[in-house]
């Protein structure tokens, strides 16, 4: 009898420990998620809203700005994520080589960009590629360019600058994950492969990649989520321009809600589009990752 009351008391404590954190997440994550959905069924300006059913969702498919922002984000995604993850994977396998000298310094320098904020990195790269920036000065000095190039007002080059900035900021971050994954692989596996005469690239494709599959899956999902939610870089490097050529979905939601006359209902519908894309893409990646 005494024992059961003690267990009950202890169990009660367990709940007391977890409830504050759970409440925060319910009130500040799950509740707004539900209310965003309810909001997405209403139209109007400012706080003057009325029920409109699925009208906002129908509007999505005819909204050129929305469709362009989705296209832009998908462009960032399909170019940036594979390039960055491949680079991170190569760097991690080089850094994992026990014979590499100066490993500590190389590792520190490769991780270094993680120590800066997205806003700071955006500002630095924006300065590089401004009309009077160092990119133009250097390329003109080398004779590659005759006159200064207007990187940030060119629809393709502006995207390039954004992709370069994201790659700079996040490659080291992903290398951290791969390096941790590689350190879990028993070195004797590589020894055995070497004795069998497997080349470095063969070892990379036949040992490293298959054994790192869970980590690769994780980083792919994280990077996909991050890119779908891209905001800081786009807002600070190009502000979505030229025109809407670099606009991201998050920035579009921000503009709809907080610039000009707020359209909260429609903004909420756009935000649900991101939510659905995140869910669908993660689901596909997990399914594909499981099969391989």
């Amino acid at each position: 009898m005494a024992k059961t009351t003690l267990t009950k008391k202890i169990n009660l404590y367990g709940w007391l420990f977890v409830i504050p954190a759970a409440l925060f997440i319910f009130v500040l994550n799950f509740y707004p998620m539900v209310s965003a959905f309810l909001l997405s069924l209403q139209t109007g300006r400012g706080n003057n809203l009325k029920f409109a059913g699925l009208k906002n969702y129908a509007r999505l498919f005819q909204d050129e700005m929305f469709l362009t922002s989705v296209g832009n984000v998908i462009t960032y995604l399909v170019i940036q994520v594979p390039v960055m993850l491949t680079l991170a994977l190569i760097l991690a396998s080089i850094l994992n080589d026990p014979k590499l000298k100066g490993k500590g310094i190389f590792r520190t320098l490769i991780f270094l960009p993680c120590a800066t904020s997205l806003v700071s990195s955006a500002m630095i790269f924006k300065s590089f590629f401004s009309i009077d920036g160092i990119a133009n000065t250097t390329l003109m000095g080398l004779g590659v360019l005759q006159s200064p190039m207007s990187w940030l007002t060119h629809p393709v080059w502006a995207k390039f600058v954004i992709i370069l900035t994201i790659t700079w900021r996040w490659t080291g971050y992903n290398t951290v994950f791969y390096l941790a994954g590689l350190q879990n692989i028993d070195r004797s596996v590589y020894e055995a492969a070497r004795i069998d005469g497997a080349s470095a690239s063969r070892q990379f494709f036949s040992i490293t990649i298959p054994l790192l599959k869970p980590v690769i899956l994780l980083t792919t999902i994280m990077s996909t989520n991050g890119t779908l939610q891209l905001f800081d870089e786009v807002r600070n490097i190009t502000n979505g321009g030229p025109g809407i050529a670099t606009l991201s979905i998050s920035q579009y939601i921000y503009n709809l809600s907080f610039m000009y006359n707020p359209q909260f209902g429609y903004a909420a519908a756009v935000s649900y589009a991101i939510l659905v894309m995140v869910a669908v893409l993660s689901f596909i990646q997990i399914k594909v990752g499981d099969k391989r």
Partner: protein, 270 residues
């Protein structure tokens, strides 16, 4: 054998190029803060003598001290609150583990999939109704409890021996006492790893403060930086100085606590 040498050399060259690419923006930012805008534009890449001049200009154009203090206060408050709430929960989920709590943990993990963009509109409306705009509480509330940190502490608590808990109970220590007097001191490295990543992400947070920190008085460093480029011409000297000032605290944390930083980034992935 010769081919192998070439491959080794190529590897080092590749690493050096990557490291150069990684470091150059930092060099540019620091050097830029010591040069005048006109020289930066001309492509000057050496240290100049205008650091103090840039600082004076920056301090007279914007409320630098105020923004720095806002960033520091918000980030510290966020870190303390997050560590308290999430470590309690992580410990609770592991030490008092049962079916109900496992289900709840699984549910909380789903929140990691919810993009912030889907929350910002309702959160903004909630916070403006609750009069939390321009406040530290408003800044930190959405990021106090994260599934990432809870899970991180839960995984760390896995290595905390149950016998220790039982022995402490026999010794008459209460449940909260076990947590504060035994778990927290033993897990100090986990707490510092969690503190570093939480501090850094709060310090660097941009989108949420952009939405709710609307007055000049409540502006944080990232908002201050972006404000500097709002005009027609940008003074690159003071822009780079403000970027340097904002990056310095996180850079120092990174260099002095790299091991903990990496642990924090990895979280529960091991």
């Amino acid at each position: 054998m010769k081919q192998k040498h070439l491959a080794t050399i190529a590897t080092y060259v590749f690493l050096c190029v990557v490291c150069l690419f990684s470091v150059f923006p930092f060099y540019f930012m620091i050097v830029g803060s010591t040069n005048l805008s006109v020289d930066i534009v001309k492509g000057r890449l050496f240290f100049g003598t205008h650091l103090i001049e840039n600082f004076k200009t920056l301090a007279s154009t914007v409320k630098l001290g105020n923004a720095f203090w806002n960033s520091l206060r918000n980030a510290l408050a966020n870190t303390v609150a997050s560590l308290f709430v999430c470590s309690l929960a992580g410990y609770g989920f592991q030490i008092y583990r049962d079916k109900g709590k496992d289900t709840l943990m699984g549910l909380l993990l789903l929140s990691m999939m919810v993009p912030f963009a889907a929350l910002m509109v309702p959160l903004f409306r909630m916070f403006s109704q609750a009069r939390l705009l321009d406040t530290t509480a408003g800044f930190i509330l959405p990021t106090i409890s994260t599934a990432f940190l809870i899970f991180f502490f839960r995984q760390s608590a896995e290595s905390f021996p149950m016998e220790t808990v039982q022995a402490a109970r026999v010794d008459g220590l209460g449940e909260l006492g076990i947590f504060f007097r035994i778990f927290v001191p033993i897990m100090a490295p986990t707490f510092s790893a969690a503190a570093i990543v939480t501090f850094m992400s709060a310090w660097n947070n941009y989108l949420w403060p952009l939405i709710i920190m609307q007055s000049q008085e409540s502006q944080t460093m990232p908002l201050l930086i972006t404000g500097l480029t709002a005009g027609y011409t940008t003074d690159y000297g003071i822009l780079m100085l403000s970027v340097t000032i904002t990056t310095l605290p996180t850079l120092i944390l990174f260099f002095t606590q790299q091991k903990r930083f990496v642990e924090g980034v990895l979280g529960s992935v091991k």
